[in-house]
Symmetry: C2
Subunit: 363 residues, 2 copies
Amino acid sequence: MVSQTQPTLVAVIGIGLVGAEFVDQLLAQPKERFQIVSLSTSRVTLFNASGLDLSSNWRSVFQQTNAPTILSALLGELRALVEAGRKVVLVDNTSAENVANMYPNFLAAGVNVITPNKKAFSGEQKLFEDILAASEKSSARFLNESTVGAGLPIISTLKDLVGTGDEVTKIEGVFSGTMSYIFNNFSTSASGGPAFSSVVNVARDSGYTEPHPGDDLNGADVARKLTILSRTIPALRSALPEGYKSVETRSLVPKAIDGLATGSEFMSRLPEFDTEFDTLRAEAQKEGKVLRYVGVIDVEKGVIKASLEKYENTHAFATSLGGSDNIIMFHTKRYGARPLIVQGAGAGAAVTAMGVLSDLLKL
Amino acid sequence: MVSQTQPTLVAVIGIGLVGAEFVDQLLAQPKERFQIVSLSTSRVTLFNASGLDLSSNWRSVFQQTNAPTILSALLGELRALVEAGRKVVLVDNTSAENVANMYPNFLAAGVNVITPNKKAFSGEQKLFEDILAASEKSSARFLNESTVGAGLPIISTLKDLVGTGDEVTKIEGVFSGTMSYIFNNFSTSASGGPAFSSVVNVARDSGYTEPHPGDDLNGADVARKLTILSRTIPALRSALPEGYKSVETRSLVPKAIDGLATGSEFMSRLPEFDTEFDTLRAEAQKEGKVLRYVGVIDVEKGVIKASLEKYENTHAFATSLGGSDNIIMFHTKRYGARPLIVQGAGAGAAVTAMGVLSDLLKL
């Protein structure tokens, strides 16, 4: 039994799919460990410094608030709790930039930050450095396991490798569940296959893509994840000054329809480009290969790229992927001959919330 | 910067392959975090309550001691340090039963225990319960990540799944690097293949087996790992009263040569049984399958077994394993459709020591 006398106080921002699942999972934890002091959407906040009573139906309890969300006010409240000697954690389950921009302030105030929000760690170097500096100064920690691979142990594994003195030589993987689903179905060892646009269409109907599939196909999500991992590797900490924008990224959005405002417009034009994708697939098949949209961090060569690559039909990216699996291979000095591999669902509310809660339990 | 003012004190028992590598890795950590207070073999101990000076060549420094190792005396010294307010960790890099039996005493004294030694957690229920009780009472922790899969994140992943409220339905994997190597080479999707004894012979010559290969082929190592994982799953905490002996285990040691004292005797007789293994392989091949020695924990069916099983040629155990890889698949409620998979080298001094050091960094 940990000799901690008072529960950790948790402020939750964002109660959408992931956020709501997180609150459910958190409320199932032993009561004495955690106490939720606030719940926020971008519009309204329910706050109580002595802890919210969410024992009945927290969703209906939350409905009753109409106090506006003011992040600076929340920061002040949480700072006061830290100053009163409490352990306080901000859990940001949004993907909002304005919340991410305030992490340095929360950390400086001694508030720990846990989040699946990729924005802060994959943006400009300055924000990232500000976060590190604030955390170092106050000893408040930030944990973001679920920004890459959701609940899969990716960042923690990389931190363990680096922290124990191993040398990462290369990381290679399928980092986007959407891209995984699309290419697992579009490009297999069998010859031919469905039209690219039809696969994207099914993916969209099944909820595997963003409402506008261009937001997945442009590769930015993969570039963001590569940025987060790169910055965890000492040699690459400052390799991407503008964050994900500095990553060499191959967009799969055809130039002619880049910038179409709505997903449905985009989808109606996508079939025009099926022949191009057919050609790419046929070229790969001629070589006995499949297409996969991957992220690569080649530490030795200094290459960080999100790109469409060809892999032998016998490669794990061809044989062992299915559904919307992520797979990440760590090549290191210690794992020299054969890589350390982590694979599994890399998206979804339950597994993302689980990654967030794991971080909280580790704190 | 952690606001910890004094370094954590580390007592190391066992400086064989893993132990020596661990000391090397530990000495490469920032000096202010850890201080080694003792180094022990089964015979001699070098101890200094204010910290050993190992800055030059620790191996030659250690040569100079001839103080006998007395575990009860070490316990007393470490208890005194805990009572003086220090954080103390015993790192047991042996596979010794007498050290494992004393974990409850160390934990009761407030000494944290970290180890790759499978003995304590895979033995009788009583020792395991004594360890839990002592740890709970004193708040000293025990961590044993590297008992399963060496540096691979297996136990931590299982703890995260369980701790965040996921429900494990089944764990299935290749848990023995030796068995992995043997069957990856003995049974492939191609028809026929080398004689079983010749594969074991190469494995032995390459250092993949124990000096007596029967110690690998009897399945006990896999049964021990299954015990450790099972006890981490709430529903199975007490399912194996006698530990690994309670696991349904298929030994691959032919009855007629079970009990031969030396590895070389064993190896000279093993070819007599090649036909039996040939038959098993041919049967599998007829079904389009390969043989793999696996561990299975089927929580729903209540089955825990170490056994030789057949897997389709397209299964990950057939396609993506190589070398002496471990692969572990976690089937859970949240990872419902497709399992969470961890794969990589599951043995070797460098990766085992890394698992131990990771635990120490987490403490």
